[in-house]
């Protein structure tokens, strides 16, 4: 088991371009993902320099294949969650002003299936929550990608504020890694403000 975990850890970590990260130290952090998102992490994170979209920011502790927090900061109506790689053949679903809060997990799932070759994804629990004082949805999910076949778990909180989508997700391999860091994510999520 240990050897398996180490193998998985090394295999996945090796894929992450670690050099490009910048440190997020503990303390107040405004303007996350180029938006009004702010947080006050109690411990250190790394911010990836990779941009998946104009209003997307990724934090990780040990490499985004092992644990990954993604902030989607105010995606406006008509825009996809992440930058489209093939607009013509694989257009992504777009945020719409009249979406219900329950459309947030649907949109995340559809985006993953199209953009990241995720062909199995299940939304597990969905419950009401608040995000920076706004009505929000908290949901959990599981997925596996076609390319690495690793089963991953996710937990997220999202809301529409002023017609824009604000969403934070935490994802990690279901085996061992998700549980290892989920409390660190929850502590971080508890400090989120808009």
């Amino acid at each position: 088991m240990t050897r398996l975990l180490i193998g998985l850890s090394m295999g996945l970590a090796a894929m992450s371009p670690a050099a490009a990260n910048s440190l997020v130290s503990a303390g107040p952090r405004p303007n996350i993902a180029g938006s009004s998102f702010s947080a006050a992490p109690v411990d250190e994170w790394n911010r990836l320099s990779r941009k998946d979209g104009k209003n997307v920011e990724i934090w990780t502790r040990d490499g985004d294949q092992l644990n990954k927090v993604t902030f989607f900061g105010g995606i406006p109506s008509g825009k996809p969650l992440v930058r489209e790689i093939d607009k013509k053949r694989q257009p992504l679903p777009k945020v719409a002003a009249d979406m219900l809060i329950t459309d947030i997990p649907v949109m995340l799932e559809s985006t993953y299936r199209i953009q990241y070759a995720v062909s199995q994804m299940d939304i597990d629990s969905q419950e009401p929550a608040t995000l920076g004082g706004h009505k929000a949805i908290r949901f959990t999910y599981r997925f596996a990608r076609e390319d690495d076949g690793v089963r991953r778990k996710g937990e997220a909180i999202g809301a529409f504020v002023g017609g824009k989508l604000y969403l934070v997700t935490y994802e990690a391999p279901a085996l061992y890694f998700f549980d290892k860091d989920v409390e660190k994510y929850r502590k971080l999520a508890a400090t989120l403000a808009l």
Partner: protein, 396 residues
């Protein structure tokens, strides 16, 4: 066959000139199959290399979370393959059913065949599925994989052909070639033609209609056009851009297959009813995945084409409602509500219908009606994993 973003397109060249005597069969485009060697073992260094890779890729497929393990599906696919190519040929084949929404099947040198759910969703009869499986088996029987391997080794610098794989290349980190990719070979035009013609011979001997392989390509073209139209694109673009310059249209393939089939006995039952019965347990799941592809036109085409065969049953009506609700324009929400109700009237039993109807109505501003439906869902499924969220929506 190879995988594109949605379709596997073997690179059929302009091979009309090659028609006539099949290189695999001797004189007439006749029915006599070449002698088949069972339990073939690799002979050369290159061949052994291909087999080692295939064994490794097969392990990956076998253990993949994407494999559809429900009892019966892989056994059924095997029955269809055996009917198509005959029991002697299919004896050593291992089939893996993979939950991947692209239209694809492929076979490796060691006798491993993978079949994707996107192919199963789009097929309307055993004959259609068999046409694709037979084509793949023909690559295997003709041992095309060896040349594929050599080509691939030469192409490692560019990996140009992977560029047309769509989603598989959309990785947020670079990684080694995936198990799925490793199991798919690249073939040349002549190999495609040879596989088409040998595949047609299997079909003609199988009892399935000989005209089916041609129809499979026609239906794929129609889906591509519908998909483009749904995205406000010109249908023709798809056939000429990029990759398609060097690997021209399915049209030629469809035509030469139809011409060759006309010279063969017509064959018999496509076994559409049997196929529908076998797929029934998986259909809702395959449809749900397709709807999430954000391809309104293509998905509507698939639904229409399935309904033309089977009629608008509850699963297809529900899927159509989902498709419209997902696109989500006000007019779509209106139409979705109507299809949900038709699905219910047609016998759709699942409680999620009330939830999704309620959400469509709510999103369209029909709050009272929407709450009624959501309450019906909550009454039926008080402990559902989303019950808390739905209850909050009703309360607001």
């Amino acid at each position: 066959m190879r995988h594109l973003s949605r379709f596997a397109l073997c690179g059929a060249g302009s091979i009309l000139a090659l028609l006539g005597p099949s290189p695999a069969s001797g004189a007439e485009p006749g029915l006599e199959l070449p002698t088949y060697t069972r339990a073939y073992e690799p002979r050369t260094v290159d061949e052994r290399g291909v087999w080692m890779e295939a064994d490794e890729a097969e392990r990956g497929l076998r253990d993949s979370p994407l494999r559809i393990r429900e009892a019966g599906l892989e056994a059924y696919l095997r029955e269809v393959l055996c009917r198509e190519v005959g029991t002697e040929r299919c004896a050593g084949v291992r089939i893996y059913a993979m939950e991947i929404p692209g239209f694809n099947a492929s076979m490796m040198a060691n006798g491993t065949m993978q079949v994707w759910s996107g192919l199963l969703l789009r097929s309307r009869s055993e004959a259609e599925l068999a046409a694709v499986l037979g084509h793949e088996f023909a690559h295997f029987e003709l041992r095309h994989s060896l040349t594929g391997f050599q080509q691939r080794r030469r192409a490692t610098d560019a990996i140009a052909w992977i560029g047309v794989w769509g989603a598989l290349t959309n990785r947020d980190t670079s990684s080694t070639q995936s198990i799925i990719e490793r199991g798919i070979y690249r073939y040349g035009r002549e190999q495609e033609t040879d596989a088409d013609l040998l595949g047609l011979q299997y079909a003609a001997l199988s009892g399935y209609p000989a005209s089916t392989p041609s129809e499979v390509w026609k239906n794929l073209m129609a889906e591509e056009d519908a998909s483009a139209a749904g995205r406000n694109q010109k249908p023709k673009q798809k056939y000429t851009a990029g990759y398609f310059d060097s690997h021209p249209t399915h049209l030629k393939r469809s035509i030469y297959l139809a011409e060759a089939a006309a010279k063969m006995p017509p064959g018999g039952d496509a076994r559409a009813k049997e196929y529908r019965a076998a797929m029934a347990p998986y259909l809702p799941r395959f449809l749900a995945a397709q709807i999430k592809r954000n391809d309104f036109g293509g998905t509507e085409h698939i639904l229409q084409s399935l309904a033309a065969d089977s009629g608008w049953g509850p699963d297809l009506l529900f899927a159509r409602a989902e498709l419209y609700r997902t696109r989500g324009n006000p007019r779509d929400l209106q139409v979705a509500a109507q299809y949900y109700r038709e699905a219910r009237a047609a016998g759709y039993m699942g409680a999620e219908l009330d939830r999704n109807l309620g959400l469509a109505l709510l999103r369209n501003g029909q709050a009272d009606e929407g709450r009624q439906s959501l309450n019906a869902y909550l009454t039926a499924m008080p402990e559902a994993s989303d019950a808390k969220m739905i209850r909050a929506l009703v309360a607001n």
